[in-house]
């Protein structure tokens, strides 16, 4: 009546495998049951709800020297990151397709404008896009700062911590929409990843970090 005869054959989820799946869920559960603490940032900008790159994610992260690169901008000029030592630098990874990147584009132009008098240099890196897509990004509005082409994604990859967003298969895409603040000594001081649920289109957190790093000198 109650199927006693078939017990041996029936593949029930055993409590042990249930336990395994519960353990897999546990970090998510913990974050759900208590309000998640804001990610720590080395500059104490811990009020930020954006996802900060932490030491645990791997390198580079805040405190590391920013990986150097030499790329070409929309005018054909070369920009070498290390040649900007002595200035505070905002490094932004962008693409034309990403709606978050698109939404933050005018704010990035405003940041460059507002902080130019304080000697801050803004540099954007377009992540692994076709010529056509790259031209769409730089053609949307007068940019006022270099937008560099990282055609093969090699520079973007050099900024991708190994354990950041482990679920994203194409590793060149992890830093799309990331914003960094690099200090006058070339060290990363602020590094965030896309947070779709607390999307900071106005770049409030970037400005807060910039204010602190600019004030230091």
């Amino acid at each position: 009546m109650f199927g006693g005869a078939k017990t041996g054959r029936v593949a029930h989820m055993k409590a042990t495998s249930l336990l395994v799946s519960l353990l897999e869920l546990t970090p998510m559960m913990l974050s759900a049951c208590s309000r998640p603490a804001a990610s720590p940032e080395s500059d104490g900008l811990s009020a930020s709800p954006t996802i900060a790159v932490t030491d645990e994610m791997g390198s580079p992260h805040a405190g590391d020297v920013a990986p150097d690169f030499d790329l070409v901008d929309q005018t054909g000029a070369h920009v070498k990151l290390s040649s900007l030592r002595g200035s505070v630098v905002v490094l932004a990874f962008v693409t034309s397709y990403c709606p978050f990147s698109k939404a933050a584009q005018p704010s990035l132009v405003e940041v460059a404008h507002d902080y130019a008098p304080k000697g801050v240099k803004v540099v954007a890196v377009d992540v692994k896009e076709s010529d056509e897509a790259y031209r769409e990004y730089v053609g949307r509005m007068p940019m006022g700062f270099p937008v560099l082409r990282d055609g093969d994604g090699a520079v973007s990859t050099s900024y991708t911590p190994a354990k950041a967003q482990p679920g994203v298969v194409d590793r060149t895409q992890v830093v799309v929409t990331s914003k960094l603040v690099i200090d006058k000594q070339g060290k990363i001081r602020f590094f965030t990843l896309l947070d779709t649920q607390h999307f900071d289109a106005k770049l409030v957190h970037l400005r807060r970090a910039l204010d602190r790093v600019v004030e230091e000198t």
Binding site: G3, A11, H12, A15, L19, P99, V168
Partner: protein, 310 residues
């Protein structure tokens, strides 16, 4: 081990009392203040060109559970999920669940080239070239910085029930990126299990409450005394204020199929009708796989007789 399991159960219990967006893996759930569509509203219908040819109308799937996902070949999060969406379609096909994948705003040739290498045959692929279907799934106050409103639904995942009602609506949550859909599958299992096992409460002529579990054909649940200690047993617990309940009597055998009557004796200080809440925990399985264990609370007004237990 016991401690860990206890911790996990405490956490499970905790999640059930929180709003959906505070539950594990469901941080992207649309909030009421974002505007519609919302869970419990009818899924906006659309008719779009299907990858398999002809057109596809969402409402043609009434009677089936549907998982719907919005994608684009250039979206890295979507791309990381697409293989797992195929696995979900394959894994749930036997239970009648359909997986619908809506490609947003791409030229047909571009999408077809991508889909050929990435989208499983079990997935119903459709093309929303002008974004008009996606626009109907963009709550007006979600992602206010997006000028192109159809992009709000990009990478969203929904569960639509057999009546066409939205039961889960998740926008992307990159802080808790879940490419294998652990949380969506958990929710789907919970909903399917509620569909699979129907629980009815009644009073017996004596001094006992009866919980009858009707199990859908092809499924069974573990009994109260399963054949292996690690299986999840069926449990019934009743609460009705001043009424004292005794140990339930469960049907014998390792599993329950079709129907199982669980009898719970009681002592009521006086006769009369009371609101009784019964919690039933069980795990439903087919011959080949199991749904997530489920705990359900059912309430009913039942008549109680006074006096001692039989």
């Amino acid at each position: 081990m016991k401690g860990l399991l206890g911790l996990a159960l405490v956490l499970l219990g905790c999640s059930s009392t929180l709003p959906v967006w505070e539950q594990p893996g469901l941080g992207g759930a649309v909030r009421p203040e974002m505007g519609g569509p919302q869970p419990s509203s009818l899924a906006p219908d659309f008719e779009l060109p299907a990858d398999a040819g002809g057109t596809f109308k969402l409402s043609s799937l009434r009677g089936s559970w549907v998982v719907m996902h919005f994608t684009a070949s250039w979206c890295p999060y979507c791309d990381s999920e697409i293989a797992h969406l195929g696995e979900m379609a394959d894994g749930y096909a036997a239970r009648g669940v359909k997986v619908v994948l809506v490609d947003e705003k791409e030229p047909e040739a571009h999408w077809r080239a991508y889909a050929a290498g990435h989208v499983a045959k079990s997935v119903v692929g459709v093309r929303d070239e002008d974004g008009s279907a996606a626009l109907r799934y963009a709550p007006p106050r979600a992602q206010p910085s997006f000028a192109d409103r159809s992009q709000v639904a990009l990478d969203a995942t929904l569960i639509v029930d057999p009546e066409g009602i939205i039961r889960l609506f998740l926008l992307p949550d990159s802080a808790h990126f879940d490419p294998t859909f652990v949380a969506v599958r958990g929710e789907l299992d919970r909903m399917l299990a509620a569909d699979v096992v129907h629980v009815a409460l009644s009073s017996s002529p004596g001094k006992a409450l009866v919980a009858t579990l009707d199990v859908a054909p092809g499924y069974h649940v573990m009994s109260h005394t399963p054949s292996e200690p690690e299986y999840v047993p069926t449990r019934v617990e009743a609460d009705a204020g001043d009424v004292a309940f005794g140990e339930p009597t469960y049907p014998r055998g390792p599993t329950y199929e079709r129907s199982a009557r669980v009898v719970v004796p009681y002592v009521a200080p006086k006769a009369g009708t009371r609101l009784v809440a019964v919690t039933v925990s069980y795990q439903a399985c087919t011959a080949s796989r199991c749904l997530f264990p489920t705990k359900r609370r059912i309430e009913a007004n039942l008549t109680f007789n006074a006096g001692d237990m039989p």
